[in-house]
């Protein structure tokens, strides 16, 4: 990180690509540390929704064709009206209807673990949802209409220019740090990650018996919080070769001389001991960031 970046304060200094956490303080004063939905996830959610829309349209078409055939083509007019209206409502209100639901997410967004919120944390109103989705006309259908239009000579150039111009709206989210669509900007909304998580078991509970393996003070002082979290991830994933490699490194680092036990068992015991040590120190006011944190 450059010195200039540091002088600009934390906002610009933290512009690393993985910095997706946004402060979001509830009225109770707790920061929920929301993470913004990233461009890839947003695009994937949109593709899922479009697929659902297209499939729904095809199903409606097949059903109305079937009804028509069954009634010997008597209700052509009625069927056409119904089809037109359903197609219109699907295209225009599919996104709105789902985002006005308490979960504020279309099926695509739900699958990707995303939801829409009001920037600033207020209520997400029906008006905002309408505004953000009406703007899809500009972001999606305008580039699409340039894409399917044909022409030659000067017209081709006009279409190309139109495509580039409308592409600006389509790729708008890539040009700002909160990944706001034009619709988000106009409606005052943003899309954040809100996955449903299961409460995982506490790894420290799985320590077989207390005191079988004991570590010295120096041994549990070898690492900090960052390493603890990596170790937690390794243990949760329980991948044998990784467990072995990590266990070897820790044994070497702390100079382990104790009795030989299974890698997983050793790591679980060390995890519990390390976490106990670090948590105790945290209670006394010092959170040891990583192994280089000497204080």
């Amino acid at each position: 990180m450059s010195l200039a970046g540091a002088q600009d304060g934390p906002r610009t200094a933290g512009r690393a690509p993985q910095d997706t956490t946004r402060e979001f303080v509830t009225p109770e004063g707790v920061d929920l540390r929301l993470r913004i939905g990233e461009a890839g996830e947003r695009a994937a959610a949109f593709v899922i929704d479009v697929v659902i829309l297209v499939v729904a349209l095809i199903v409606v078409s097949i059903v109305s064709a079937g009804v028509l055939l069954a009634s010997q083509l008597r209700g052509v007019e009625m069927a056409a009206i119904v089809w037109l209206l359903i197609a219109f409502f699907l295209r225009s209100f599919y996104f709105m209807a789902f985002e006005m639901h308490p979960r504020a997410a279309t099926p695509g967004k739900r699958i990707m673990g995303l939801r829409v919120i009001a920037r600033g944390g207020g209520r997400l109103t029906a008006d905002a949802v309408f505004a953000r989705n009406a703007l899809r006309e500009l972001e999606v259908f305008l580039p699409l209409s340039f894409l399917v239009s044909q022409g030659d000579g000067i017209n081709a150039w006009v279409i190309l220019l139109g495509l580039i111009w409308s592409g600006i709206f389509l790729f708008f989210p890539l040009f700002n740090r909160d990944r706001l669509r034009v619709g988000d900007l106009v409606a005052g909304t943003m899309v954040v990650k809100a996955p449903r998580r299961k409460l995982p078991p506490d790894l420290a509970d799985e320590r077989p018996t207390v005191g079988v393996l004991s570590f010295t003070q120096a041994q549990v002082d070898a690492y900090g919080v960052k390493e603890l979290h990596v170790l937690e991830e390794v243990l949760r994933r329980a991948d044998k070769p990784t467990l072995r490699a990590v266990a070897e490194r820790i044994r070497a680092k702390i100079g382990w001389q104790g009795e030989p036990v299974e890698d997983a068992e050793f790591l679980a015991a060390y995890y519990a001991a390390l976490r106990g040590r670090l948590e105790t120190r945290m209670l006394f006011g010092h959170r040891r960031r990583d192994k280089f944190d000497k204080a």
């Binding site: 009206i81 308490p102 029906a126 309408f130 972001e139 409460l199 790894l203 937690e232 976490r275 948590e279």
Partner: protein
């Protein structure tokens, strides 16, 4: 089971039941609506939410179990949005919408509405003048699929017939026009974000088409009749499209000239107000579609058509602009 040696383990053991309870309630509420929860559960939820929040802040300061903290963050986020988030469904929104919000929003956009109307009228006048001078201009303004044979080469008798006869598939065509107009209106609104100009273009295009049609019929001495044919639903439909243009202008204007606030918040405020207008515009277009599909076929007399047009226009004007008591 090993005894709980760590403070963070004891902390979790004491509170876990509450978290699970909250999770279960949220799953139930999110599955359908808040109506699924019983009274007791509804009262319980905010309490559980606050205790989960306090668990989260305690966990952050005493626990290093990342899995636990991630879980609590996601649980609190879900609960936060349930407790503070919107549960205003479209249906619930309707209540205050027609009595107050919509007319107020439309009234608030009166300047943009005038601009939008002026641009449309400009298109009408220009196209009418050009077509009256040289009928070939008609083809430049009206695409042939919309004209449906009603072009300068058609006879007066044919043109007259299009005004009064009904063909099969009229109601399909009316539905098509409703969906098409609603799409155009949404498009005009969305284009406003691109600094107003494309919306102005769309408005003028709409005006040009209108002017060309009227001039064509007027050249056969059918001006008044064509006006009645058009305005019976056009009073509503054109008004709606002018309002959609106005909504678009208000967004573009807020982006270019945000005034005292930041550009972002100005755009958001304008966007939400314009959205209120637009929801109503879709409703207006639907009504216009009904008038076109049913009213125009039922009513053939020019005088009556004009009366309906004038009545609907004055109703809309009174509804939007007459002063009303603030609730």
């Amino acid at each position: 089971m090993a005894e709980l040696v760590l403070k963070s383990q004891r902390f979790r053991a004491e509170r876990e039941a509450d978290w699970r309870r909250l999770e279960a309630l949220l799953a139930k509420a999110e599955g359908g609506s808040a109506a699924r929860l019983s009274r007791e559960e509804l009262l319980e939820l905010p309490v559980l939410y606050r205790s989960a929040l306090s668990s989260l802040s305690v966990a952050r300061s005493i626990s290093l179990d990342q899995g636990l903290i991630d879980y609590l963050e996601s649980l609190c986020t879900r609960a936060y949005f349930f407790v503070y988030g919107a549960r205003s469904t479209l249906l619930a929104r309707m209540g205050g919408f027609f009595t107050h919000d919509w007319p107020a929003a439309v009234k608030g956009l009166w300047r943009e509405t005038l601009v939008s109307l002026a641009i449309t009228l400009l298109g009408v006048v220009v196209a009418a003048a050009l077509v009256a001078g040289d009928p070939d201009w008609f083809y430049a303004f009206v695409p042939s699929e919309l004209a449906g044979g009603r072009d300068p080469s058609a006879s007066a008798a044919f043109l007259r017939a299009t005004l009064y006869d009904d063909h099969d598939g009229k109601s399909v065509f009316a539905t098509f026009l409703f969906t098409h107009n609603a799409q155009v209106a949404l498009f005009a609104f969305a284009l406003g974000f691109a600094l107003c100009l494309p919306t102005a273009g769309l408005m003028i295009h709409n005006g040009l088409m209108l002017g060309a049609f009227l001039a064509l019929f007027a050249s056969h001495g059918l001006g008044l009749e064509a006006g009645g044919w058009l305005m019976i639903h056009g009073a509503t439909e054109l008004f709606a499209i002018v309002l959609a243009g106005a909504a678009g202008f208000s967004i573009g204007w807020a982006v270019v000239f945000p005034g005292e606030t930041s550009r972002m918040s100005a755009a958001a405020a304008a966007g939400r107000r314009a959205a209120v207008v637009m929801i109503g515009v879709v409703v207006m277009l639907f009504l216009a579609g009904l008038l076109e599909g049913i009213g125009r076929q039922a009513v053939r007399a020019d005088a009556l058509r004009w009366t309906i047009a004038a009545a609907s226009l004055s109703l809309w004007l009174a509804y939007f602009y007459l002063p009303r008591k603030t609730p």
